[in-house]
């Protein structure tokens, strides 16, 4: 069997003990390790992963130096943070929590922003309630179990009832050690009536890496809560991985996603939102630029359980070189979710004859009284648009650039932090031009 791995259970549990992790996390690791071999591998639709190596991790934890002040942050990190105005930021360097700045406001409102390990010790009742229970299960597949077994980073964000967090909470993960693998777990919980904007950025100084990615985010919006979740990933080549971001809504809750998936590595993305509460909604916006020989699979699913729920998926991808991506969009209206609305749109722009982009919209509907719709397209840059722009004096390259930016704008515009939006624009630029 491919994708086999050798894993030393004792070493993992010893490390857990030495790091004084909570008994709960050790328990979860043990559970995952025990189940690992009997679980199935993921089977992303239309992408064969049997040759992908998700498992070879040489170092579960690498130790990195922390940063003493904002001034010490390296350029790649400074670029994603609005240094002048940033209020709330937590920085993880490889597997080490390296910098934290939280506004007094935030702390006095009772908002918790802590590394997942600290939170497990400091707020066990909260963390244990939500960690791998509602959104993602340990025994879903081999990779979710592997995640729990090798967990080595991440953050816990909790916003108490009716607290509306004014400034975004930003998490930056800096990958600057080739040996480091990122098995981060992000848990964002907005309690009843709470509101928060959370943005995470994965940045790197490396050209390539030897580690693996296995990232799980669980986003829980209780009744009437509102979460904006933004993510912009720019990781190096050769960090093969699995990134799962899932949300669960209460009644009248909102989870909106704005994801700029710009990694240069082969990644399987699962972004699923469970609209459990009636009247809840989710808006999912995803943008991706694929280049080189990169292979990716983006499965975006909104599952409607509650009545009168609304799901909107918008995905725009640009494919260059020999890159190949599958964009699966699934709107699933379960029986009983009356008067729900599932919409999706997938657009792929191909910049080279060797690039591949598959847009597959899927609607699964078990209920009669619903509204649903989808649109999908894959094609080249429109020559007539280029002609129009060039006839006003713009070079072909500039005209293409404008058309591509225009194509991605609906997603880029929805990124909730200005500096991140600008950086995403710059990264798109760099990817298109080079």
């Amino acid at each position: 069997m491919e994708n086999e791995f050798v894993i030393n259970k004792d070493e993992i549990l010893e490390a857990s003990k030495a790091r004084e992790e909570s008994a709960f996390l050790t328990e979860k690791r043990t559970e995952a390790l025990d189940k690992l071999n009997s679980l199935d591998m993921i089977k992303p639709d239309k992408t064969r992963v049997s040759k992908w190596d998700f498992f070879t991790v040489t170092d579960q934890f690498v130790e990195s130096e922390a940063f003493g002040s904002i001034e010490e942050l390296p350029q790649v990190v400074r670029e994603v943070i609005d240094i002048e105005t940033v209020e709330n930021v937590i920085i993880q360097r490889n597997n080490t929590e390296a910098f934290v700045k939280l506004s007094d406001d935030l702390v006095s409102q009772g908002v918790i922003v802590e590394s997942i390990f600290d939170a497990a010790n400091n707020h066990p009742e909260l963390l244990e309630k939500y960690f791998m229970t509602d959104a993602v299960q340990i025994d879903e597949n081999k990779l979710t179990a592997y995640h729990a077994a090798l967990l080595n980073g991440g953050v816990f964000v909790y916003v108490p009832k009716n607290v509306q967090v004014k400034d975004p909470i930003q998490m930056v993960v800096l990958h600057d050690d080739e040996k480091a693998s990122l098995f981060n777990h992000v848990l964002v919980v907005a309690d009843t009536g709470a509101e928060v904007t959370y943005v995470e950025n994965y940045v790197t100084t490396l050209e390539s890496g030897k580690g693996k990615l296995n990232i799980v985010s669980e986003v829980i919006a209780k009744d009437n809560a509102k979460i904006k979740y933004g993510a912009v990933d720019f990781l190096a080549k050769a960090l093969v991985g699995y990134i799962v971001r899932r949300g669960v809504t209460g009644n009248d809750a909102v989870i909106d996603w704005a994801l700029g998936l710009m990694n240069d590595s082969d990644v399987i993305y699962d972004n699923t939102t469970y609209l459990m509460g009636s009247g809840s909604s989710s808006d999912v916006k995803i943008v991706h630029v694929g280049r080189g020989n990169q292979k990716s699979n983006f499965t975006t699913e909104v599952i409607h359980y509650g009545k009168e729920t609304t799901g909107n998926i918008l995905k725009h991808g640009v494919m260059k070189d020999s890159a190949s991506s599958v964009f699966n969009g699934i709107g699933y209206i379960k029986h009983g979710a009356t008067n729900s609305d599932a919409q999706q749109e997938s657009r792929v722009l191909m910049l080279s004859p060797k690039a591949r982009g598959d847009a597959n919209p899927i609607l699964l509907i078990d209920e009669d009284e619903v509204v649903a719709g989808h649109a999908a397209s894959a094609g080249q840059v429109d020559e007539i648009q280029l002609f129009y722009l060039m006839s006003r004096g713009l070079s072909r390259q500039e005209a293409e650039r404008l058309v591509i930016h225009g194509f991605l704008a609906p997603v880029v515009e929805s990124i909730p932090i200005e500096s991140v939006k600008q950086l995403l624009t710059a990264v798109i630029e760099e990817k298109i031009v080079n």
Binding site: D382, E383, I384, Q385, F387, Y388, L389, M390, S391, R392, G393, L394, S395, R396, E398, A399, L402, V403, H405, G406, F407, L408, A409, P410
Partner: protein
Amino acid sequence: MTSVLEIKDLHVEIEGKEILKGVNLTIKQGEIHAVMGPNGTGKSTLAQAIMGHPSYEVTKGEVLLDGENVLELEVDERAHAGLFLAMQYPSEISGVTNSDFLRSAINASREEGDEINLMQFIKKLDKNMDYLEMDQDMATRYLNEGFSGGEKKRNEILQLMMLEPKFAILDEIDSGLDIDALKIVSKGINELRGPEFGSLIITHYQRLLNYIEPDFVHVMMQGKVVKSGGKELAERLENEGYDWIKEELGIEDETVEAE
């Protein structure tokens, strides 16, 4: 120096079918030429071929701008050389604001280091938009996206006024315009009129030519210019239609399909 645009024996094919069958026309700066003719006789083809539309293949002839064959230039180079085409069906470009686009377009024809400064640009844009009675928010909207037919035409003229080319080809700039808009658009074109501006205006209606008085009027049929004259030719066409020309020249089928 007065620039000259010469179209010589131009033959153009689209998907292997010959549409233009030897067009000859000479336009000098300071002159306004109107091109009229029934539907499907090659007027837009002429305009698009001069600008370099990718679907049109020139099989014979040349288009000279001050002696230089522009058919050998890329589309953007033709624009830099001083040509402009207001299109019958302008494209919509999402995500690019009208004003960002205009500024890039202006700078594209300038040398590096000689870019228009932001204040100058804004002043010029404001002035021209005022002149064309365009809403300020048109500047920040995406290029032509969701514009009404008339708004698109007005926006073409805005681009024309901002770019100030040597020669402008206007393809049915009057179609879809209400009476007031027609007057405003004509006013814009008349504003440019002068010794440093030449224009070829494709239209079906005398009405536009009441506002922009042409120096020359040409009629196209069967992919060629079949008759030329002064502004009185347009007036006669308005009153009598095309039959008399067909009779005079012995043409039965005026379209490009004719052998």
